[in-house]
Symmetry: C2
Subunit: 342 residues, 2 copies
């Protein structure tokens, strides 16, 4: 049972496929095709269960109505939720999405971009790993639109939807300060990622503004692919009573760090917030039901995803060259729960 093509319909009715194409693409009016024939075409199309061959359309028009999404890891709920929003907004406009997880590995993202470049996607939404500047730069010189989310490269001019990470960390740190914490630590991951840098900078600025010296020993920088043990070691170092740099609060820059961190803190028999207060970026379910529900910096994932798609599609659809570059910075909100005391 072969799929029915435009030609099948045309033959069936003894007309040209041009005509059929016009009718099926809603251009009947434009070419003033008789209503009579229109309804007949539509009837036969339905009867033969005609489905346009999108690949053939794609070859002819150069458009596939597909968006390429490259994020660190679709299994990470942060990106999963983002992916969901992107999918939803894209579907609303008749677009599909192909996704790839780069694992923060620039070699992977390079291969993934190359793969998608083979005329498969009309545009990209990318959360670029560190050391992928060259890839993004190359993209910005090409003519396939793209928008960056979650991270950007200051030296590259391109569409981007970010969150005010500096402000978010500043507020979170301030929240801890207002509750009387003075020895606030920051646990983060490799600072080659601009969003992570901004967070730590915001944290430092809040301390400075409160006339508290920044202690480098209170800033723990773990590799991206950290495991329980690495986090546990950092935590142990921060909460050890005899340690010269004992902390009374921790700002976690990612929820993966935070979840592992809480596990370690519990394992050490310490109580949150009595022994140590906690704030974390991102808002996974885990934080709602853990021993002491965690105060978090909540990112507007819905808005990030939606806006990214909208900007991308407006660029894809414009025919008069590249549009104006858009840099959008969204605010986060601090959701206060119990992990900082009161």
């Amino acid at each position: 049972m072969k799929k029915t093509s435009l030609n099948d319909i045309a033959k069936h009715l003894g007309v040209s496929k041009t005509l059929v194409s016009f009718v099926l693409n809603g251009k009947a009016k434009e070419f003033r095709i008789s209503e009579d024939i229109c309804t007949k075409v539509l009837e036969v199309a339905k009867e033969l269960n005609y489905q346009p061959n999108r690949i053939a359309q794609g070859l002819r028009t150069g458009k596939t109505n597909t968006i390429g999404l490259i994020i660190a890891d679709i299994a990470n709920p942060f990106f999963g939720i983002l992916g969901r929003e992107i999918e939803q907004e894209a579907a609303k406009h008749g677009y599909r999405v192909i996704f790839c997880s780069s694992d923060e590995n620039p070699d992977k993202s390079r291969a993934q971009i190359a793969m998608m470049q083979q005329t498969l996607v009309d545009g990209y939404i990318i959360s670029p790993p560190k050391n992928s500047e060259d890839q993004i730069l190359a993209l910005s010189k090409g003519n396939v639109p793209f928008v960056l989310i979650d991270r950007y490269f200051p030296e590259i001019e391109c569409n981007q939807i970010m969150v005010d990470n500096f402000d978010a960390a500043y507020k979170a740190t301030n929240h801890l300060l207002k509750l009387g914490r003075r020895r606030i630590a920051n646990v983060t991951i490799n600072l080659d990622l601009i969003n992570m840098i901004d967070r730590t900078e915001g944290y430092k600025q809040a301390l400075r503004d409160a006339n508290i010296p920044v202690e480098e020993s209170l800033i723990k920088i773990l590799p991206f692919s950290h495991d329980n043990k690495l986090v546990a070691r950092a935590i142990k170092d921060l909460v050890n009573k005899s340690s010269p740099h004992k902390a009374d609060a921790i700002l976690f820059s990612t929820s993966k760090l935070g979840i592992n961190g809480i596990e370690s803190i519990s394992a050490l028999g310490l109580k949150i917030p009595d022994d140590i207060a906690i704030v974390s970026f991102d808002n996974p379910d885990a934080y709602k039901i853990c021993v002491s529900p965690v105060t978090v910096v909540n990112q507007p994932l819905k808005e990030i995803g939606k806006t990214a798609v909208q900007i991308l599609l407006s660029d894809i659809k414009r025919s008069d060259g590249p549009g104006k570059i858009q840099k959008i910075i969204l605010k986060t909100d601090l959701i206060i729960r119990k992990s900082c005391g009161s």
Copy 2:
């Protein structure tokens, strides 16, 4: 800067594109093309940064090297992790994946399958919503391979990778029985999904085998799109001391139910496992750090994803008609933590 095509390379060297195509597709030996020309073609291809147009290839060969993935919700970590495994195994074989979230809504999955059917994918991996029997049946009569994961329809013969849900629930319930619990409840979602039915059946059988009568009042069936409040009401009913059907343990059939359930239990001031013991299906991070880390039925997500892709690809690649239908049932394991006491 137009993309370079086969023709560009051919012209550049004064040969035919047939030749270039052969060389680039590794058929040089087969057609005994001189090494000399081979290296030249390869050189020019590199120099001109030739990228094959996959859409054109797709139109010609009828293959897109793309897998369509339809699951309930990519933002749900269960499906996110599954998606990640599928992506990874697919990439290993040169395949990409397009994903769609059906929200357990058969109308959505119908539209998503139709969309993908437009010659866009070589095969599907589907977690079908209830009432989508007709869609799967139609698929099984077509000639695009597919494999079902997580749920199946007993009356439809097709490839499927499942987990032994009956056995899993049986063991989980048994675990509670062995620890002395006698009034074990089951909180689950709409039982039109076979995997949910199997879980509840396993639960019932374990009770029967222990000579404990099954009490329908201890089985709470919530709609798929339940919110905190609905779960809270069910929990309240189960733990109310004056209630005739007070429970001393709960088996949650999904982690979404479990997470909401734990929130409700905490809000009521009850202690896990002292006041009530808990076992849940699935193994989200949340269960590791909550007040009393939760004993869970862990599904082999890696194996499910990997096997699904392997079976699908072997079907896609066979030219001699449909292969033998494969029904694979994997075992789960019970990860014992603290939520059931000891």
